[in-house]
Symmetry: C2
Subunit: 323 residues, 2 copies
């Protein structure tokens, strides 16, 4: 398939493997890229600059296809020198960066000087327009359905994707609520030039999380996520487990972030990922978990999506049109 | 275009004009039907049974195409004898009914005895499955983006439509967040067999509401709706005006429905519709108001949607597929 995104990024399919903290390793990114999608490694998953350098090198050793590095700015509690991370990314020879969180404006000169294409992830049309003005190449727009941080405006992808696509000149990637060919074709119909999938790539053979968590996502339905952190204006969509319910309860009682912090700690999240106990920590997943029913390899996943997209367009639509 | 819905209902396009209280008159329904969509009159917009009988007769005099009557059960405060309404509808010779609110189970025998096809509108997959079991012919599933009552589970159409379509054997109509050809093609990709549009039909020449309200919807963006009545478990999406903000404020302070009732009265709503003052009452509209930019006739609207859908499928997709 050929869209403005595949042409610009040099990838075979208009599919991006969303940058996921603690999940976006070299192995997963390389597997996604080898399958014809754009794999994305998350820079902050590596605790040191040397670690990031090595992880990028590792990804390059695993694939000769394009891959990207995600840099999420300003949403992690620990002190991070982003300039140093940007410097490592620029020197590494990586040609595509996905930014998220705060505006990538402070880093745009460095990225551009190194010929890096910048995909900026945001959740509102006005942020997307600002990103376009500062020179990002692609906007990846996250709707209400997404895992992680959908923002505070709660606009579903069905409305947000076309609103963004018609407002911007640069290509738009649809993110949130998409897990299969149906979502891909819908996003392309709505004006997007590609899709970003996170939860779907979490439930692949190559994702570095415990099989037990993958299985829980296979079993969940579309109603089993919930929003937390709204009272802190940092809304997050997570799996509806007892920890999420407890956080929501504390928030409803007016509790501040200090009172929920221990519940949602990275340590607890790691524990869930590594033990497969979905009640052990906060698990970030989108409502499209309800559409995920298998645990394929990245190669199988991308192959199936493209083959089913072909069926939707060339069989389903064709029969409706000629009817 | 030919889908399971167009075949079953005998309509030219897979588009339904949503049943709208106070807006779904014979004139609007007939205009939608004459344009090739399925027009829907709302039974309860008529204050008496005789009024409904006359309105159905009027609609029949204005179109020889199929149209439907909407019966919304159990969500209006006043005492209504639904059996009497059902009786009038059955005797009128109408062949399609759209039900909403409570389950249509008590009326299914009467509808079926009169050869009436039943489209039931609901907001969750489990309600849709129950509707299928009791014999409804079509489920119209309303996502989070919709105007009016999206339910309490907040599942965006991007996920809810495919979840419903894969769970049901009967055809699914996608409702909420759709205002144009992009939404139509997206819904068909997601597995729906047609779309339901309310807000979009409100902003047509034939809709019996003041030009000033239509103009405000043309001007709004996708962030200018808000949810109210969540604390009463009767969530409604409405235009974000000072009345909606005041209701939300009272709810946040723990106020009961008695305290907001005067603000959202039918009288105030009528005032907004009739004077064009969007601050005069609660105005029911969906976030796809942000995608609406003109006030066409129903005929122009349907023509444009079908022609643009053809472009998306035969030009945009074809060029992506052939590369």
């Amino acid at each position: 398939m050929k869209t403005r995104i595949t042409e610009m990024l040099g990838i075979e399919t208009p599919i991006i493997c969303g940058g996921m903290m603690r999940v976006g390793t070299a192995e997963l990114a390389a597997a996604a890229s080898n399958a014809g999608a754009l794999g994305v490694m998350t820079a902050l998953t590596q605790p040191t600059l040397e670690g990031l350098e090595a992880e990028i090198e590792k990804c390059r050793s695993l694939t000769d296809k394009p891959f990207a590095v995600n840099l999420t700015v300003g949403v992690v509690a620990t002190e991070i020198n982003y300039d140093d991370y940007v410097d490592v990314i620029c020197r590494s020879g990586v040609k595509i960066v996905e930014t998220a969180g705060r505006s990538p404006e402070p880093f745009m000169d460095a990225f551009k000087a190194h010929g890096i294409k910048v995909i900026h992830k945001c959740v509102a049309v006005r942020h997307a327009l600002k990103s376009e003005r500062i020179g990002v190449d692609v906007v990846s727009i996250d709707g209400f359905e997404c895992a992680g941080h959908p923002g505070e405006a709660d606009v579903g992808g069905l409305v947000l994707f076309p609103a963004a696509a018609q407002a911007l000149k640069i290509p738009v990637v649809a993110s949130g609520g998409i897990a299969d060919a149906r979502g891909l074709v819908a996003a392309l119909a709505l004006g997007a030039e590609g899709i970003n999938m996170g939860s779907r790539f979490m439930v692949t053979q190559e994702a570095p999380i415990h099989e037990g968590i993958k299985q829980k996502i296979v079993e969940m339905d579309e109603t089993q996520t919930r929003l937390i952190f709204r009272s802190y204006r940092n809304t997050a969509r997570v799996y509806k487990n007892s920890i999420a319910d407890k956080v929501a309860e504390i928030e409803a009682a007016g509790g501040d972030f200090g009172q929920v912090h221990h519940l949602v700690s990275g340590q607890n999240q790691e524990k869930a990922w590594s033990t497969g106990d979905i009640e052990a920590g906060m698990v970030t997943v989108g409502m499209c978990g309800g559409l995920i029913n298998d645990i394929p390899t990245c190669k199988e996943l991308i192959h199936n999506i493209m083959s089913e997209a072909d069926q939707i367009i060339n069989d389903r639509f064709a029969s409706m049109m000629t009817g």
